[in-house]
């Protein structure tokens, strides 16, 4: 039967990652291992040769059904620093409006004997679908699917938090803006909960912060001041221009007035609170230039950490694949 829980699908029999599809259901141990491994890659920054031979001979395909040069570039750099060969494929959405051609695309790529697909897709659950329909020894890394998950972005944010705050227990974290359409927010919510953050606040108007998130363990604030009061970490999300056309908001200026992060609103948070943003920033829409360029913003750290986290996840998933194939080989 073609039915499997994505949470089970991404682990091998030893409980190690073999795909990386969602943070939902991953244990604290695995999340911590990702962070620890990422830290060990960060120290590579001091090397004169910024490259390790770990994935030498492996082929990584960046399979982007949705354009995102930034994300694709960080995955590409991460793969290259692991010495993998990288192919970038940007597939126009029109060509794959039906599953038929998505499956055809996959079969073509498998014939090229790829070892890993990094998938960005506009449909929630697409990487899960690909993991189910791919040959079993290809590792699938989710680089963002629909509104569902963006697990590497969430983990780089966790690494950024841990490097600044030391640990997760007792932290208060606010995520502000368009939660409804945000795969980053959903993945962060899973990661923060698993890592021990109890006070997670989702801040925005009702049109962008559905009540249902309360059932997922978040506190919902429609008022920015209540949302930012005494927090250690502020995550600002990018506001897409389409939201105004969808009648979810009246205007950018009204959003900025109510939910924009300024020097003043940031003063409601703890004095040592850090400000994160997955980028690219809309200055004057969700965040003021002063805050974005200020010393509380750790947005550039996020970019650096992103490469290390992606290296960690890629090497772990490849390792899980290798060990599973080894186990199968031993049985045969």
């Amino acid at each position: 039967m073609m039915r499997s829980d994505p949470r089970a699908l991404q682990l091998n029999e030893q409980g190690q990652l073999k795909h990386f599809l969602t943070l939902d259901g991953l244990s604290k141990e695995i999340l911590t291992e990702i962070l620890d491994r990422a830290e060990s890659f960060l120290s590579m920054g001091e090397q004169s040769v910024k490259k390790v031979p770990l994935l030498r001979g492996k082929t990584v395909v960046n399979l982007f059904f949705e354009n995102s040069t930034r994300t694709r570039t960080t995955f590409e750099l991460a793969a290259k620093r692991l010495s993998a060969d990288v192919i970038n494929l940007n597939i126009a959405t029109s060509a794959t409006s039906k599953g038929e051609s998505l499956l055809d695309t996959l079969q073509n790529l498998e014939a090229m004997q790829s070892d890993m697909f990094v998938v960005r897709h506009q449909d929630s659950g697409a990487p899960h679908f690909i993991a189910e329909h791919c040959s079993p020894n290809v590792a699938i890394i989710n680089a963002g699917d629909g509104r569902h998950a963006h697990p590497t972005q969430a983990m780089l944010d966790m690494l950024t938090i841990r490097r600044h705050k030391g640990q997760f227990e007792g932290l208060k974290v606010a995520i502000v803006g368009d939660i409804l359409h945000s795969r980053v927010a959903r993945s962060e919510l899973h990661a923060l909960k698993t890592l021990g953050v109890e006070d997670i606040r989702l801040v925005g108007p009702k049109t962008l912060v559905p009540e249902f998130f309360r059932d997922m363990g978040a506190n919902i604030c429609h008022d920015l001041k209540a949302g930012l009061e005494d927090v250690d970490v502020v995550v600002m999300l990018r506001l897409q221009k389409e939201r105004m056309a969808g009648a979810l908001l009246p205007s950018e200026s009204e959003f900025y007035r109510l939910y924009g992060l300024t020097e003043e609103s940031l003063s409601w948070a703890k004095p040592d609170a850090i400000v994160m943003h997955p980028g690219p920033i809309n200055r004057g829409v969700e965040i003021s230039s002063e805050v974005a360029d200020g010393d509380r913003a750790v947005i550039l750290d996020q970019v650096t950490n992103g490469i290390a986290v992606r290296m960690a996840v890629m090497s772990m998933a490849m390792s899980g694949q290798v060990q599973e194939q080894q186990a199968v080989g031993d049985e045969g």
């Binding site: 499997s4 039906k98 998505l102 449909d123 929630s124 629909g146 569902h148 249902f212």
Partner: protein, 425 residues
């Protein structure tokens, strides 16, 4: 030809009957029960000891896909699937290609069904031409050609004014209109029940209000125009309340629910499996329980399979990109019986909603084993446990959320008008 069905447990809610009793069939009809009438000494005897004899099931929603979508199903393939599931009478929707908006298409479907010799097929005609929602169809001509009702099959009408006029016109001729309550401006782009599960999994939601706002409007227009109305595929708890209120205020309406909405909830979304992509969507546990309650109280008149076969590729895609619908007609009975096992429904309530209930909604002479009725019946082995998989599947479509599951109970034989149209072995 004379036939004696001997020693079966005959369960017929239309007569409040549940007894081991013999049935006597002559010239397509049931002519007696219990004691043999004169002239039956030399009749053929079918001994069905230990088996159930049920009225042939009546399914208000089986898409045959013909004409136009033979890659999904044909009248012959889906008719065979229906009778293998014990369905002897079915109502099929107008969304074929061409659409059932001319008498010729309605006649074609019925001719092909007669030729196939499977279930009795009753098409629903389009309420507006091409289901476009602008010009009224030739409703009376369609009815004369065998359409049992008219429906716009969930497609919007150009305006409430057009809808109101269509209903007035149908009411003029005492025609039955089938509604699929859905406010498309609220459901547009959605593929799952708007709730915690769709929110968490990032699937665009269809709010309850998409159904209830449309239902409220439709009920008001039914009241105003006096048209006979049937509401198809209710999915929300609130809708059950609204229908109950309408019925209590004396409105002549009936309604049905798809079996999968009684068995499943949006909990299944966690698997991202497109087999569970159906419209209206699988909703919350509260909605599911309220729908079951509606069956118990009689607010909901019928359970249908909402059979929608698809070609394989229609479901091989990420959830939102799959075509909605399941093809379950051939396991309608064993799946429906699960509602009993869970202690939810009594057998007679369940069978009412599968036989005489739906027959009454569409005014069909079916779903009963009373003396004088057509001899449409099912021989059912309630003890057989079997796996429903590709090797046992009859429908051309293999799309279902129940693939590979064990089924309890199995149709052994199906008779229509005294003729055997299906036998397991």
């Amino acid at each position: 030809m004379k036939l004696r069905i001997s020693n079966g447990r005959v369960i017929d809610p239309s007569q409040n009957l549940d007894a081991v009793i013999d049935l006597f069939i002559e010239d397509h009809r049931i002519v007696a029960m219990g004691e043999a009438p004169a002239g039956f000494d030399d009749a053929e005897v079918l001994d069905v000891s230990g088996k159930w004899i049920l009225p042939g099931l009546v399914d208000t929603a089986v898409a045959l896909r013909e004409p136009g979508y033979s890659q999904k199903g044909t009248i012959a393939s889906e008719g065979r699937a229906a009778v293998s599931g014990g369905v002897t009478t079915l109502v099929c929707p107008p969304n074929t290609k061409p659409i059932v908006d001319t008498p010729a298409v309605a006649a074609l479907i019925q001719d092909k069904a007669d030729e196939a010799g499977m279930a009795n097929v009753f098409p629903i005609g389009a309420l507006t031409q091409g289901l476009q929602g602008e010009q009224l169809s030739n409703m009376v001509a369609l009815t004369d050609a065998g359409c049992v009702a008219l429906s716009n099959h969930g497609h919007d009408l150009a305006s409430n004014r057009v809808l109101s006029r269509a209903l007035e016109y149908a009411a003029t001729h005492d025609l039955l209109v089938v509604f699929h309550p859905n406010d498309s401006s609220l459901s547009e782009g959605g593929c799952a029940h708007e709730g915690m599960m769709s929110t968490m999994h990032g699937l665009a939601g269809i709010p309850e209000t998409a159904e209830t706002i449309a239902l409220m409007r439709d009920l008001l227009l039914v009241e105003k125009t006096g048209v006979r109305a049937h509401f198809a595929r209710l999915s929300c708890a609130k809708s059950v309340e609204m229908i109950a209120d309408a019925k209590a205020s004396g409105l002549d309406v009936t309604c049905d629910v798809a079996l999968h909405n009684l068995l499943l909830t949006d909990e299944v979304l966690k698997e991202f499996d497109g087999q569970f992509h159906v419209l209206p969507p699988l909703r919350s546990e509260n909605d599911r329980l309220t729908l079951i309650e509606g069956l118990k109280t009689g607010v909901i008149n019928a359970i249908c399979s909402d059979h929608q076969p698809h070609e394989k590729m229609a479901k091989v895609a990420p959830f939102a990109a799959t075509d909605p619908g399941m093809a379950n007609v051939e396991v309608l009975l064993p799946l429906a019986l699960r509602l009993m096992d869970e202690g939810d429904l009594e057998l007679d309530q369940l069978l009412t909603a599968l036989t005489v209930g739906p027959a009454a909604c569409f005014g069909l002479e079916a779903g009963s084993l009373a003396v004088g009725s057509f001899a449409d019946f099912v021989v059912f082995d309630s003890t057989d446990k079997w796996i429903w998989d590709q090797s046992t599947r009859k429908s051309k479509g293999s799309n279902s959320g129940f693939n590979g599951e064990q089924m309890a109970g199995r149709v052994l034989q199906t008779y229509i008008s005294g003729q055997r149209v299906y036998s397991l072995n």
